[in-house]
């Protein structure tokens, strides 16, 4: 992957790449994890996403919300990664490292429970078909309205609603299934 170290010359309305990195690198990181990129590949895939962001920054319309645009790029890069012969067989790892990176303000027990819940979310998300997964993550976790979801993923609004409905059902079923038939 080539470096994106070239100096940006953004227009007045276009955010600077450095600012996007400063503000949204965490969002890119979380998004890639939610889209099924294993922890050990997150850094490299995040790099690829940011290179594309740098390259396409001129296409970004500053009047539009930034995160759905970033999500669209992250989704395509993550999909390419997961489709590759090597990586299609990999599964996201449990969030072992994340345990030591919990935000402040909670005790160890609360942190552990939070990590357990996230691990369950990742495992349930991994059972979803990629397109449905993207709609589900962008709407249910990121809180983006469906029209913005549809625009980010370049799909009709009705398709987004349809994928969301199925994804909700599948996610719920997976959580129950992964929780065990007790």
């Amino acid at each position: 992957m080539s470096s994106a170290s070239a100096t940006l010359e953004p227009s007045a309305s276009t955010p600077r790449f450095e600012d996007i990195y400063a503000r949204e690198r965490d969002y890119v990181w979380r998004t890639l994890r939610r889209l099924g990129v294993p922890d050990r590949h997150l850094e490299d895939v995040a790099h690829d996403v940011l290179v594309v962001v740098h390259r396409k920054l001129g296409d970004y319309q500053a009047s539009r919300p930034l995160r759905p645009w970033l999500f669209g790029i992250a989704f395509r890069v993550a999909s390419d990664f997961r489709r590759s012969a090597k990586n299609a067989r990999e599964t996201p790892q449990d969030d072992v490292e994340g345990l030591a990176r919990e935000p402040e303000g909670a005790g160890p027990d609360a942190m552990l429970e939070s990590a357990q819940r996230r691990a369950l979310v990742y495992r349930a998300l991994d059972t979803l078909e990629d397109d449905r997964r993207a709609v589900f993550v962008l709407h249910e976790i990121d809180g983006e309205p469906i029209p913005a979801v549809a625009e980010a993923l370049a799909i009709p609004v009705n398709t987004a609603y349809s994928r969301l409905r199925v994804a909700r059902e599948e996610f719920s079923a997976s959580v129950k299934r992964l929780g065990g038939a007790r």
């Binding site: 994106a4 170290s5 450095e18 600012d19 990195y21 400063a22 503000r23 949204e24 690198r25 965490d26 990181w29 979380r30 294993p38 850094e43 995040a46 790099h47 940011l50 290179v51 997961r82 489709r83 012969a85 299609a88 067989r89 990999e90 599964t91 790892q93 449990d94 072992v96 994340g98 345990l99 030591a100 990176r101 919990e102 935000p103 402040e104 160890p108 027990d109 609360a110 552990l112 429970e113 357990q116 819940r117 996230r118 691990a119 369950l120 979310v121 059972t127 979803l128 249910e140 976790i141 990121d142 809180g143 599948e170 996610f171 079923a173 959580v175 992964l178 929780g179 065990g180 038939a181």
Partner: protein
């Protein structure tokens, strides 16, 4: 789910607060991308809300949590020594899921889960599991006693014990680390110990994926066909499809010593 005030919302809420990019990764990426980084500032976004002021975000979740991380790491290590870290993160999620889906009210402290889990004992597998760190973390404790007896047949719903889940987590962890042979060994052990357990569907699905990974495509295809008939609406169908697609793109079978 945003408009459905159900337990899944709480589950997703935990993910919204997930940690962001670690400070060390952030610094490396900035360097690779040619971005000047004033200081080694940590994550800039504490949550999923509106972006914070980039100029003032020197600490952040990952960078500013070092004290907590140290405490948690120490505490986690002690817990993992007792219970097996993979159970805490893997099988333990089953406990959380079950509780959330069954009891929408506020969950009890995790200590309750750990206390319950500490009664789970698992025997050594018949075949050694090659994934060393995982195998070490999951070093078997003592001879059995699943917290919930598994049963099947007689038309009654079969239960899933923590021990059964722990065994399957062992296989999943091996598969996740790329050691499909170890995963298959663990699945064999699981099948021997829990021939009529409540996780047969998971076990079968994982076996198919592991077979694809080691290059035994014909056997995997046969099992996948049977699996699709047995579980036409399985939540694991997509994972099997991905594994098959991965195998189809691979010309050289993976050889695992």
């Amino acid at each position: 789910m945003s408009e459905h005030d159900d337990p899944l919302s709480a589950l997703l809420e935990a993910e919204r607060d997930a940690p962001g990019m670690p400070a060390d990764v952030s610094a490396r990426l900035a360097s690779r991308l040619g971005i000047p980084m004033p200081g080694a500032g940590g994550a800039s976004d504490p949550g999923n809300g509106s972006p914070p002021d980039a100029a003032s975000s020197g600490g952040g979740a990952s960078g500013g949590a070092s004290g907590v991380a140290t405490e948690l790491s120490r505490w986690t290590l002690a817990r993992a020594t007792q219970l097996g870290l993979v159970f805490v993160l893997g099988a333990g999620t089953g406990v959380v899921a079950d509780r959330m889906l069954s009891h929408p009210e506020p969950a009890p402290p995790t200590a309750t889960i750990i206390a319950a889990a500490s009664h789970v004992t698992v025997p050594a597998p018949a075949a050694p599991v090659a994934s060393e760190p995982i195998a070490t973390a999951l070093a078997p404790v003592e001879e059995p006693a699943p917290t919930v007896p598994t049963s099947r047949g007689d038309g009654e719903a079969h239960a899933t014990s923590d021990a059964e889940r722990l065994w399957l987590e062992r296989a999943e962890a091996a598969y996740g680390s790329g050691d499909a042979r170890a995963a298959l060994s663990a699945l064999d052990a699981h099948a021997r110990r829990f021939p009529h357990g409540g996780l047969s569907e998971e076990r079968d699905a994982l076996r198919i994926r592991a077979l694809y990974l080691v290059g035994e495509r014909d056997e995997a295809d046969r099992r996948a066909e049977r699996f699709a008939s047995a579980y036409p609406a399985s939540v694991f169908a997509r994972q099997i499809t991905r594994a098959r697609e991965g195998a189809e793109q691979t010309h050289t079978p993976v050889t695992v010593p």
